[in-house]
Point group: C2
Chain length 516, copies 2
């Protein structure tokens, strides 16, 4: 069958089951109350004054009674510095556990040592927001028996709530914790800020282990995860490489083209009609996206506009804007550097939020639903504005769905910033290899070679033209790019589906086929 974006989707898939095709960003919501039932969180019980402390991670893992076919989950707040995921998988492999589903909120290059376990039946399926590097190449080449599932940050929470992901064991790395498992990422030698992605796992996992390199006096404050959800606590020497966990202040790009695109994007936002008193704002951390904040900050000061909240993955650049009074508050599901952790600790208007509050579509109103302006990147964008942020030009998995489709669906103004091509590879093109975010959620594309407005936003196009901004048809831009780069060689695929891309509501927006 084909979904509404004309992507060929099977009705069922081994290792996944029945597949519901993507029907549009809000079709399931418009039906009213979601019909899919949620699953009950586990009941647990402990005798008073019993100890949760284990002498090492292996002991904790053994005490949780691991078994074949289990699902193990992790958060990715330690980013490129994480060592806990790999250590846990190694322990499970040593114990002879097979057929594990790995459900990390994302995967980074730090996790490449698990590669052998993808090949030998230890890990047979992955649920993740992102996959990169050698793992991304291996899974695209079909190394695993069951299809991997790419979900958005909000979609992951929905999956846990509805039992699509049934977590048997979650191992939560914390930069500070007490002996009962009250824990935080906001302070300690390995501080990483918000622990927003871990909270849903703590609530639903059959067994919850907190691992820290920093046991503090009871009680640990603040408490991102509280003791009533924690079964075991482990003190280890290190939860990872702090230099890769919090890499210092996130710097604005100096690449001239990124800066040019960012400047254009800021002009687009300025004239969009959305940059007004009390607006809310999210930008990605990388390349041109973060640079947009630099120009928006200038405009806000010039025009004396004060915003409501900054959302998302938070950089110290956002913290600066909070401290300058440009925004009233920050909602922080993930913090990108050490300065952010300090702000999170000390400023009551720098609010740590869970991934569910951030982006789960099926609750009474996630934060992304209240967002006015978001600036996002793209690996590819097609002439219907569909965006690929997951597969690279060779067809390997090398990105993350993250909050892309979550924020794009909720924001009043979704701006995609990217160069029109990279090297000889077109970015703006007729058909993207993989769709993560549907074009209906993208309002405007800003490239160095032109600005294109989604035809479903005619009033936005008018605003921009009134503001003196030249607007181009996206088909024209794509044709222009093709003239420069030539027609891109299509990626050679096998028929076999090795992964699916789940939209935030649980429907399937695209599949990923095995790369030849």
């Amino acid at each position: 069958m084909k979904n509404i974006l004309q992507r060929e989707i099977p009705e069922t898939l081994e290792g996944i089951g029945e597949i519901e095709p993507f029907q549009g960003a809000f079709t399931k919501l418009r039906k009213g109350w979601m019909e899919e039932e949620t699953v009950p969180p586990p009941n647990k019980a402990k005798m008073p004054h019993s100890s949760k402390m284990c002498s090492n991670l292996k002991e904790a893992v053994i005490r949780t009674n691991p078994r074949n076919g289990m699902t193990v989950s992790f958060h990715h707040h330690l980013r490129g510095g994480d060592s806990i995921l790999v250590e846990t998988i190694k322990i499970l492999a040593e114990l002879g556990i097979k057929d594990i589903t790995l459900a990390s909120s994302s995967l980074t290059s730090a996790h490449e040592p698990i590669l052998p376990y993808l090949k030998n039946g230890t890990i047979t399926q992955i649920y993740s927001s992102g996959i990169r590097g050698e793992i991304g190449e291996a899974v695209a080449k079909g190394v695993m028996p069951k299809p991997f599932v790419i979900h958005s940050h909000g979609g992951r929470v929905r999956s846990v709530h509805t039992g699509k992901i049934k977590i048997d064991l979650t191992v939560i790395a914390a930069s500070a914790a007490d002996i009962e498992g009250n824990s935080t990422g906001a302070h300690g030698p390995s501080a990483f800020g918000s622990m927003g992605y871990a909270v849903i796992d703590a609530r639903y996992a059959r067994q919850v282990v907190v691992v820290t390199d920093n046991i503090v006096d009871y009680p640990c404050v603040p408490q991102a995860v509280t003791q009533n959800f924690v079964d075991y606590v482990v003190k280890v020497d290190s939860i990872g490489d702090p230099s890769k966990i919090a890499g210092g202040t996130t710097r604005i790009t100096k690449a001239p083209m990124d800066l040019q695109i960012a400047r254009l994007a800021a002009q687009v936002i300025e004239h969009s009609g959305e940059l007004k008193e009390g607006f809310s704002f999210q930008v990605g951390a990388g390349g041109a996206s973060l640079a947009v904040a630099k120009y928006i900050r200038k405009i806000m000061k010039q025009k004396v506009i004060k915003g409501s909240f900054i959302l998302g993955g938070v950089t110290s650049y956002g913290v600066d804007m909070l401290n300058e009074g440009l925004f009233k508050s920050i909602f922080d599901v993930q913090s990108f550097d050490a300065a952010v952790s300090t702000s999170l600790m000390t400023n009551p208007y720098h609010i740590e939020i869970t991934a569910g509050l951030y982006a789960n579509p099926f609750n009474c109103g996630c934060m992304t639903n209240k967002l006015d302006i978001v600036v996002l990147g793209a690996l590819e964008i097609d002439t219907d504005f569909n965006v690929n942020v997951i597969t690279g030009s060779e067809g390997y998995v090398r990105g993350a769905s993250g909050g892309h489709s979550d924020t794009a669906s909720g924001a009043n103004l979704t701006v995609v910033v990217c160069p029109s091509f990279r090297g000889r590879i077109p970015i703006v093109k007729e058909k993207v290899h993989t769709i993560v975010t549907p074009g209906e959620s993208i309002d405007v594309l800003v490239t160095e070679r032109g600005i294109c407005v989604n035809p479903n936003r005619p009033e936005l196009k008018e605003n921009l033209i009134k503001g003196g901004i030249a607007v181009k048809e996206i088909k024209d831009l794509a044709a222009e790019v093709e003239k420069i780069t030539g027609v891109a060689k299509p990626i050679q695929n096998e028929e076999r589906i090795v992964g699916i891309v789940e939209y935030r509501d649980g429907t399937v927006i695209d599949v990923i086929r095995q790369v030849k």
Copy 2:
């Protein structure tokens, strides 16, 4: 059948269903994982940028589609000043809704205007931690068709988790909220401090309405309840009578007998072996209980002992001890005066906790499980140390289970303080009218007429004797009291059971029969 405390309990009861008899404080826990399943919290969905604001409470109630047989819940943080519960019930009655189960975390004298609705079929069942005044008299006299259920604070959370209480609509009064429903009790003209009892309702209710007299700029900070759980928000002129919500500083009793009992209790604690560096502490807010804190504070200063945490219903006396550095932190499920709200707002070590974290027996470790010393009151205590805190000498319901059995079961040292008799009515006696907390959880009784140690704590008795404290057999004390007061006239009951007292694990520890 008889439960383990020899109370006559029916196997089934109309309006309740099957009854599981009380088997001992930890029998269900010792079985390992609790077998009772929990229920799934609801899935909800809202379109982005949609409004939750209703122009008045009636509009909000109508939008939640009320129906016959529904369960409506409330928190009791507004105490004697609450007007929201009564207003909501009046609206439902006006709408012709019948057969309502009222599931308030507790009921106070402020709720007496609902009395007509108990008699006319509007409200047919009550779940509550406490019932008092005219309502307590009416329900004991059998005014309602279905038996009421008395639960502990921790037991209530368990009941909601396991679906024994299925909340259709919860109406949450807040002293500050924003238009999305992020809300708190910590500031505003009607500030009441912690909102700890409301959080479980917000998570599980099919419909959640936040009512406030104080809409603040988005976002409301701090956030006891977050927007992802809130369906509707209502601004009203008043949520109640602020003078009865936060009644100023809670004062220590000046009654000589209470002070005498409190002094004795402090001596008992001093020599118990539990008053040591890092101990944790909870006292009730009333009479002799709070006065014990005064003497403990002195001893802590003299002996230079620093405690870990204060737990519970928190008074400004507790806040003073925190500020003096006598304790490291306060965990606050319920705040008793305005000074407490200010501390909660400003001191990161004054931590707002949910009722689940406070006392639910079926999670990974509630706070009461970590408690070292608790001082509790009693309406009656029998020679097996079983305590009644729910029915008065006429048999009417005039108290609250509250956290009594929760803290008593978890604390290393549970001290009951009460006079041995009041007027001509014995308090210490052979058999109490209603058991709320089993004797096995009570370690020592302190009265003006003698101190009695539970025989299951021989080492405690030794410690006290070593400390020069005279210890009496409880049977001797009861006999002594009987000589003074004469034998109390037994309460005249009908056979009909009008209410049950649930132990925190969901078993039935006692029943309440209709008073003649």
